[in-house]
Subunit: 338 residues, 2 copies
Amino acid sequence: MRGTVIYGARDVRFEERADPAIEAPTDAVVRVVAACVCGSDLWPYRGINEIGGPTPIGHEYVGVVEQVGSAVATIERGQFVIGSFYASDNTCPNCLAGYQTNCLHREPVAGAQAELLRVPLADGTLVATPGQPAPEMIPSLLTLSDVMGTGWFAAVAAQVRPGMTVLVVGDGAVGLLGVLSARQMGAARIIAMSRHEKRQTLAIEYGATDIVTERGDEGVARVRELTDGVGADAVLECVGTAESMQQAIKSARPGAHVGFVGVPHGVTIEGTQLFRSHVAVHGGPAPVRQYLPELIDLVWKGEINPGKVFDLTLPLEQVAEGYRAMDERRAIKTLLLP
Amino acid sequence: MRGTVIYGARDVRFEERADPAIEAPTDAVVRVVAACVCGSDLWPYRGINEIGGPTPIGHEYVGVVEQVGSAVATIERGQFVIGSFYASDNTCPNCLAGYQTNCLHREPVAGAQAELLRVPLADGTLVATPGQPAPEMIPSLLTLSDVMGTGWFAAVAAQVRPGMTVLVVGDGAVGLLGVLSARQMGAARIIAMSRHEKRQTLAIEYGATDIVTERGDEGVARVRELTDGVGADAVLECVGTAESMQQAIKSARPGAHVGFVGVPHGVTIEGTQLFRSHVAVHGGPAPVRQYLPELIDLVWKGEINPGKVFDLTLPLEQVAEGYRAMDERRAIKTLLLP
């Protein structure tokens, strides 16, 4: 089969690789129907995260089950499935508590920007849709593998409740779907920080009521102005830099939770700042497995359309251009079709 | 009147001072019936927090209202009252959200280790008891001014729920009352970290089910052993050092909240640690004003007896010995009677 391999900074290649096979009896092999490029794939692409050598890449996927191991009980050949970027058994105490990305037996899923993908712990990791989806539903289903579930977790961790004023820091695909999630959870007002017109437009379509274009202390001042001087009731931090975390904490009211899902790069928080501000922080890799049944249902009924974050669709063999377009911010998110 | 003034490290004096008077129409003057020494008073006492010059000290108090300003509407002369260490209007958005220690008009209350005390924003700050309390109830009522409310907030911020396994880091008065709070909120199991026999005994009396004497990584390993490898469901961090915060975070299960109430000294948290662990942190100066009605009720009915943390009672004029005894860990907490 053919798949994507990252060789180094800005060096992504689509090439012939060995077909994945069942390695453990709990594995499944999935024929990928759609994959995509994640914001977190840009960290190694930009050379910020080092890689040890040529590495298969991609962790967002939907597809049809091609083969299952002898111990797989609930997932069957032919089903259309979605899974998380971490395989989880879904039975350990951390899974049962809703933190499948901290499963005691978790394994990363890697190499999803390919024609075939091995998924460990198939019963715990994959969720089948109610039937074969219509083609137009596939982009939205694909987002549930990571980006939509990540925006959703940001809103859960920020403890968004009906009627709240919610701030979303970051206008990438995760931030935009954080807006959608906050709206779905009943936020009365959603302030999106963005200075890109195309992203502002989608944020508004997803439910943002206010756009803040200022950054840093000016951005904080603007959010405080919009919230009668007290700050936002809940904040979604969807970037992962020191600046975005400060933006989030300083814009939050006392008692607010900052839900953070951007992989932190150089983020350090002073205890004194949290103490004085009474701001809570909670985040991590989103346990998207927990949300799959609920979010599949919302997509299936047409109640949410997270797939709109894909503004570039390419054949999988043009994956390198997909990375370039996101790196240069020409695209919000690239959909890849094998 | 006579009151306590700190002059520098380990230099606390009881001396003649001017009687406090009504300065703003919202003030009250309270004749102090009991005061005490707070763990946070030890920071300047030990020279860790610098002071600018001789400073009246003390912020925990109960007493009888002696005088009220012309704008005070609900508090009356002769009432027995308890107030927070921060004066708050109890009407601003932060107060209404339950964060009175971040009141938009807050003022510190200082100089409570004295015969008389001026309390700003009396209507928002002071809560009267249902009547004049019996003398034996006074120590417990006094704890509601800070230390008991602080232990309570630690448990609230840690999101303690019935049936949880709760870890309490710190065996000072706040930690011990954190144990009491967790028990009151329905924790099934309470692990207290302590290596002092007297404090262990009180922790057990307050509801601790397990005592961990190990510290650092050994302490973390012991807590993980006691929780089937996953960590505690909720953690109360009642010290405020870098070591105690690490102890708390590393002992928490994914999704657990660390409620932290020790004033942070040198505490820095890496975003990556919070991200990988899924542990949430939430803390700050306890909004004890919020809890006063509920906690007064519990003390009045005899359902809780937080006053047992006082293991040394001195006449106010011996306040310096009260500080020494706590500094040398001969006393958990010193009660002072004018």
